[in-house]
């Protein structure tokens, strides 16, 4: 890792940078409004990137989809023959993700490499340069955000190749974090006015911290979690869970998938084995072929998700929890479930 290297870039300069990225035939993905949602879409024209919007609103779904799509084939078959599938890996710039999302990718890296190197994920990771936007805007942090409580930081650079943050009204601070980031910047900085700076996004951290409603630290929770495995309180907290998969599907780190064979419509004997997103909150997730379901009740399934995030993953991989505190699950939950609130309630550390 290179020591930091920051510059100030104007709004116009940033736009130029985006145009250059497009001109260099990178596939550019950035948050874009589709319907009422903000989601990562392929950008064809620079003006499709609305900076104000992406600074203020978090995408409904996380950017994990860029690396771990909701569906992708892992092999194809024609009659009796099977063929390997190579994931399409165009050189990609993923623009405008949040520091929590970037951190989520680092957590996912461990999952997809610990015993088997998942080429689909890894090749996409390799081909993608990540330009993160720190949560430096007044409206970047909302009442669901709690990255600080799970070891995150709204200005953190880990997982990013380039880090953007606001710098006054019409300018941004651009930090080069990795060589990959530097390569991108070097190849695309033509006509972009960069003014060297000694500032860092992290300088704003203290000010941003004040905007957080949820400041409870959950990092130590993993040691306590096992005591609460059979807790009635936890059952109470999650009683209203209906078992949809919104939390898992919008989560930047949930990574369970189902493998199904999809016959190719309109053909016989052709098809693909595909990997589809799955969720531990689905009733069928653990249902055995014989009909037994070890997680018979919805609160057990909900508990699984919480424990996986806050206890099992830290035990297995690191001291970090698998939750990055982006708040997407509680923002989208149709019955207002909230991992932060549930855990803080149960552990008696106070209310949100």
């Amino acid at each position: 890792m290179k020591s930091y290297n920051s510059s100030i870039v104007t709004k116009q300069g940033l736009k130029q940078l985006i145009e250059n990225i497009l001109a260099h035939k990178y596939r550019l993905l950035a948050p874009k409004k589709s319907g009422e949602q903000l989601s990562f879409e392929t950008i064809l024209r620079a003006e499709e990137v609305v900076l104000n919007q992406l600074l203020r609103t978090m995408t409904t779904l996380s950017p994990k989809e860029v690396f771990f799509p909701r569906t992708e084939p892992v092999l194809r078959y024609t009659g009796q023959e099977m063929h390997d599938v190579e994931p399409p890996t165009p050189e990609t710039v993923l623009f405008g993700i949040r520091p929590c999302d970037a951190r989520g990718l680092e957590l996912l890296d461990k999952v997809f490499t610990w015993d088997y190197n998942d080429k689909f994920y890894l090749k996409r990771r390799e081909a993608t340069t990540i330009v993160t936007f720190a949560c430096s805007d007044q409206a970047s942090v909302d009442e669901h955000c709690f990255c600080l409580g799970v070891g995150g930081d709204p200005t953190a650079s880990s997982g990013s190749d380039l880090l953007l943050s606001t710098n006054g009204d019409d300018a941004f601070l651009l930090e080069v974090i990795t060589e990959k980031g530097e390569r991108l910047l070097n190849s695309c900085k033509e006509g972009v006015e960069l003014q060297a700076s000694d500032k860092r996004a992290a300088d704003q951290l203290e000010a941003i911290k004040d905007r957080f409603v949820r400041k409870q630290d959950l990092t130590e929770v993993r040691h306590k979690m096992p005591e609460y495995f059979d807790s009635d309180q936890l059952v109470q907290e999650t009683y209203r869970c209906l078992g949809c998969g919104i939390c898992a599907m919008s989560c930047p780190t949930c990574h369970c998938f189902d493998i199904v064979d999809e016959p190719k419509a309109g053909t016989l004997g052709e098809g693909a084995r595909v990997k589809n997103w799955d969720a531990c909150s689905f009733a069928l997730f653990t249902k055995h072929a014989g009909g037994h379901n070890p997680r018979e009740l919805q609160c057990q399934r909900c508990r699984q998700r919480y424990f996986h995030k806050l206890a099992y993953y830290p035990q297995k991989f690191s001291e970090e929890s698998l939750c990055v505190g982006c708040g997407r699950c509680s923002r989208s939950c149709p019955v207002g479930l909230d991992i932060y609130q549930a855990v803080t309630h149960v552990l008696g550390k106070g209310r949100a």
Binding site: G35, L242, C244, G245, I246, D258, E262, N276, W277, Q298
Partner: protein, 269 residues
């Protein structure tokens, strides 16, 4: 019942006299949005709460095994939820003697969306006569066929198959959904444009004559698919064609499980 106070009083009595094992209602965190609560202790009925943004259709909880294990249940219902409960009675999912409905008038301010502007059961006991004109439906009907197709195909394409629409719907009570059935797999479980079309089409079809237009599916959908328009349109058709409104009369047979010899057949050659 006229006020939440009466509901609380009734709930307390029901619990104290052990006539029900659990009361399902709305609660409220400090300064927070409301959310479903489940009360078994008569001392806690004060937690019951009701105001105009209590949009949840609590009837969905009546089919959860952990809720049902409490024996007889009492449930706080608005007009649309009461329709759901009656619908569940009519489809043999609940016995009417096992559920006490605590009905409340709903003024539905602030919930937004067409769900409430077209609602006709704000007062659960005296439904209004006619469905108000539905602008969203009119907008679709004004489109030429191909445009309509594209509109819905684009809506459905976004579907990520989280199945929140299904899970939040009191009437999607199949233990295993058709999409989870293989051999044959009528509907692909992969979130792709084709399977998504069939899935959303089929769900709408399965709700014909059963949907109570509570709009929860559209509210729950994380990618904002306008499922409510489909369901409201079908409910309107069912009413026009078969003079049937789902969940109004628990004794009435759902329209697709019955027939009249002189049913319309203009569309049949």
């Amino acid at each position: 019942m006229n006020s939440i106070h009466e509901v609380r009083e009734e709930a307390r009595k029901l619990l104290e006299e052990k006539r029900v094992g659990m009361v399902i209602g709305y609660g409220k965190g400090k300064g927070k949005k409301n959310y479903p609560i489940f009360i078994t202790d008569p001392q806690k009925v004060e937690e019951l709460h009701f105001e105009s943004d209590c949009f949840y259709n609590l009837a969905v909880y009546l089919r959860k095994p952990e809720v049902c294990s409490h024996g007889k249940l009492a449930i706080v219902v608005k007009g649309c939820d009461a329709r759901s409960v009656r619908g569940l009675f009519s489809e043999n999912q609940l016995k009417s003697e096992e559920v006490v409905m605590l009905e409340l008038k709903c003024d539905a301010k602030g919930i937004g969306r067409d769900k409430c502007t077209t609602c006709r059961v704000k007062n659960p006991l005296t439904p209004e006569e006619k469905n108000p004109i539905d602008g969203e439906i009119a907008k679709i009907l004004a489109m030429p066929m191909e445009e309509r197709f594209r509109f819905f195909a684009e809506e459905f394409k976004r579907c990520i198959r989280c199945y929140a629409c299904r899970q939040i719907c009191p009437h999607c009570f199949c233990k295993t959904c058709i999409v989870e059935k293989s051999e044959p797999q009528w509907i692909s479980s992969t979130p792709s444009p084709l399977g998504n079309w069939s899935w959303n089409f089929t769900r709408a079809f399965h709700l014909i004559g059963r949907c109570v237009e509570c709009g929860e599916c559209a509210r729950a959908c994380p990618v904002g698919i306008r499922l409510d328009i489909l369901n409201r349109y079908l409910a309107k058709s069912v009413e026009e064609k078969y003079q049937f409104i789902a969940g109004m009369d628990e004794k009435a047979a759902p329209p697709l499980t019955t027939y009249k010899q002189n049913d319309n057949q203009d569309f049949i050659r």
